[in-house]
Amino acid sequence: MLEIAERALELTKKSGADQAEAFVSENLVTTVRIAASRVVETKNVYDRGIGLRTAVGQKVGFACANSFSRELSERAVSMARARPPNPEFNGFPEPAKPRKVKDIYDRALAKLQPARAAELADFMLQAALDFDRRVVEASGALNVVVERCAIANTNGLAVADETTRIFGHLTVEARGVGESEGATWLGSTSLRGFDPSEVGKRAAQLAVNSLSPKKVKPGKYDVILEPAAVAELFYHVFGYAVNGRDVHDRVSYFADKLGKAVAVEELSVHDWGNMAGGLYSKTFDDEGVATRRTPLIERGKLVGFVYDRNYAGKANKDSTGNGLRLIDMPGRYYGVEPSPYITNLAIEPGDFKREELIADTEEGLLLSRIWYTYPITPQLGDFSTTSRCGFLIHKGEVVGAAQQVRIHENLPRLLKQITGIADDIRQMMPWGAVAAICTPSLRLSGVRIS
């Protein structure tokens, strides 16, 4: 792949570019899909291509294709020539030799055969169906992602990277007195780190526990969000607020808050692009800048944002190694230019055990999963969500399942109402997410439930 990138650079220079960058990516996504308790699809999405960024003076253009040719180089240069100069263009990165990140590539996973993937999906399914006679149906999927990329630029940078990940998720339906649902997601960067049966068992356990839900009166509650629910909330309602692009665009509710206290002192959050075993770890970002651990909130104080080179330049900062080329499909994608994205958002664990948080709650709700959580007024941090697996807490004990509730709240306010952080760290990826959230359970006070 690196040879293709370097050859593309040569041709692009010959086509008239003063500076250029070639990004080649190759992704293989294998998905085994389960619906109505049987495997219904096994699919293989393969994608490969090349994106060329070219600069003629300060004029910058971008062209891409899923096959390389001289035409692509010429098109990239003509796209640059057609536009006015961009005085903010700050060139391409200088060569660097980033340290290899541990446990982000597993040869066994990269070589996994479809029959083995289907077998793992079947383990997941059977573990759920065998768990309890009240389990009636399960749906979900097993995904294996192998992503490779290479980048070369006219400054002499030439690097290549490869990562793997496997993740399974299952939504299980149980029937007793009424119906209920339980959902679980587990992922790993290696085959040995993934336990398919655990996905099935946890989802089934949640479904069975969710039977016979009781109505929840509207009002203010102490709410414990388990890792899957925190991940959903932080991916959709926190991720953009620390993104250098949204800060520049002032869509972030943190736009004027750098250096200020924005959360309780117990909360620290990092973006950790080179976390060993991180589901979205990479050796370098999609511009060739080494990934790193970027503090965002330290002991409640807002201390940083994530940047690519473009938005770092606008903010007079350095890139934090977060310039990624992502679309909804898993993997780095040659077809778009880099933009800032979070990678692995890591919330530091607290001192509480999850059980202690529950025991310490007089009246409240335990939410295992929330659903369709979006910032309905993003510049304020207002969001709306519904619970999907919720439980009532009374005098320090979980006393049964709770019916679905809607939460219309404000995250900046809730960040100051965190009253407990557990130590039960898990890596999660909400549906369709292009980042991982590494988080413990959190308890929030005074959450308005309707």
Binding site: P114, T171, R250, A255, E337, D382, T386
Partner: protein, 454 residues
């Protein structure tokens, strides 16, 4: 088929995309993308799928073998029955009048620069952007049953955005036009005039009061109704959701098993129709080669029909109705809406405003819907109070909360002023597929809780 498949089809595609983005007075992006490839789908009781980007015989042969090996990887292969469908041989074209790729690139950049400039109506407008994008797509569908469908299509869209800040209040406003057609869509949109309006409305919102919480009759404009229809009529009408097959991803449908039953007011009529000319979700054949047709999803408040694949049509014992779509050749198709809308009624706008007290919601922003599409909240770009037929406002940060059957039953006036809107980013599937759809409707009146800031 020689390898033993019960059915097979291939989709070959060739696409060209171009995007221009101007932001805060500077050209941020000028991009050009070319793609080609083939998606191969085989049925061996379960589906196997693979894609290839090389359209030469050895690569296609490899793709076929991979698709077959994917299907055969499954031990228990049962089900996968497809309803009979017309085996079509056709050639379709939806190109519009002005080829967007023939319009000079510098003209498109200048249009965006001018629109971006015009959006900065006063010092309170802090961020602006303008974009033009186009796609030309050629497809060839072949099936083992003998279908052969060649289609080509052009999509063009343009958008403008402005964000204003006054004191501690930040507000934004945006407008988008797009559909199946050529550069005439951009010309009709009149980007500069729209940009100025967007700038003014963002600035006005930044000075506006926050919407107070209340439960009142709500009148929604076409843009708001478009997103509402998308979320609480379009999605739950997808038969895979109705069957619970999407439980792990997109969710279910609260009205499963209720075909033929009343789910709302007699004034509520809803349709999905891929053949609305010029709409963003336009097509004549779906990605299973099934002829596209109009579906009456809801008639006078009664649930009538869902959107089907050939497989779900077999389960429901109905004829397939042409709603299988894939984002590109790289993906396996799944059931998606095309152009889903609420049909116009007979009320004039002033009749809709004829309430003692109410709220007028203009433009849809962001939705949050539960997994059964039952309990919803959708925010509006701007809101007004209606007092004895007069509008007071604007107010900022309004949203409505509702329960779908209650909301549908409370519809008591449907406007005659129908409009289709483009929704370029509807997500579904695993891996996620983002698709172009059209949604629309007329002004509509119902009752909901109006929520203010969180």
């Amino acid at each position: 088929m020689k390898l033993g498949a019960a059915y097979a089809d291939v989709r070959t595609e060739n696409s060209r995309n171009e995007t221009i983005l101007v932001k805060d007075g500077k050209v941020e992006k000028v991009t050009s993308e070319l793609q080609q490839g083939m998606g191969i789908r085989v049925l061996f009781g379960t589906w196997g799928f693979a894609s290839t980007i090389e359209l030469v015989k050895p690569a296609v042969d490899r793709g076929v073998k991979t698709a077959v090996s994917m299907a055969k990887a499954v031990r228990h292969r049962a089900g996968g029955k497809m309803a009979e469908a017309e085996v079509a041989e056709a050639r379709t074209h939806a190109g519009g009048k002005i080829d967007p790729f023939e319009v000079d690139l510098s003209e498109k950049i200048d249009l965006c620069l001018e629109a971006d400039r015009r959006a900065r109506v006063d010092k309170h407008v802090k961020r602006t952007s303008a974009t033009i994008a186009a796609q030309k797509l050629q497809k060839l569908f072949l099936s083992s049953e003998g279908a052969r469908i060649q289609s080509d299509r052009v999509i063009t869209y343009a958008g403008v955005f402005a964000l204003a800040k006054k004191g501690a209040v930040t507000e934004y406003f945006e407008d988008l036009a797009g559909g199946t057609g050529g550069f005439e869509i951009v010309r009709r949109f009149d980007m500069s005039a729209r940009a100025e309006d967007v700038g003014r409305r963002a600035a006005a919102l930044a000075s506006a009061k926050a919407m107070p919480k209340c439960k009142l009759p709500v009148v929604m404009d076409q843009d708001f109704v478009a997103l509402l229809t998308h979320e609480i009529i379009g999605h739950p009408s997808e038969a895979d959701r109705v069957l619970g097959r999407e439980a792990a991803w997109a969710g279910r449908a609260w009205w499963a098993g209720m075909v033929g039953r009343r789910i709302g007011s007699k004034l509520l009529n809803a349709v999905d129709d891929p053949r609305v000319e010029g709409a963003l979700g336009y097509y004549e054949y779906d990605d299973e080669g099934v002829p596209a047709r109009r579906k009456q999803l809801i008639h006078e408040g009664r649930l009538l029909e869902h959107m089907h694949s050939r497989e779900t049509a077999a389960e429901f014992k109905v004829k397939p109705n042409g709603n299988m779509r894939a984002q590109s050749f790289k993906y396996l198709p799944l059931i998606r809406m095309s152009n889903t809308f609420i049909e116009p009624g007979e009320h004039k706008l002033e009749e809709l405003f004829d309430v003692k007290e109410g709220v007028y919601l203009k433009g849809a922003k962001i939705p949050s819907i539960d997994s059964r599409r039952y309990n919803f909240q959708i925010s509006a770009k701007e809101a007004f109070l209606i007092r004895r037929g007069e509008l007071v406002g604007p107010f900022r940060d309004a949203s409505i909360m509702g329960i779908a059957p209650d909301f549908f039953s409370s519809i008591d006036a449907v406007g005659c002023d129908f409009e289709m809107r483009p929704i370029p980013n509807c997500g579904k599937g695993d891996p996620m597929q983002t698709l172009h759809v059209g949604n629309g409707g007329p002004h509509l009146r119902s009752v909901a809780i109006v929520a203010g800031v969180g």
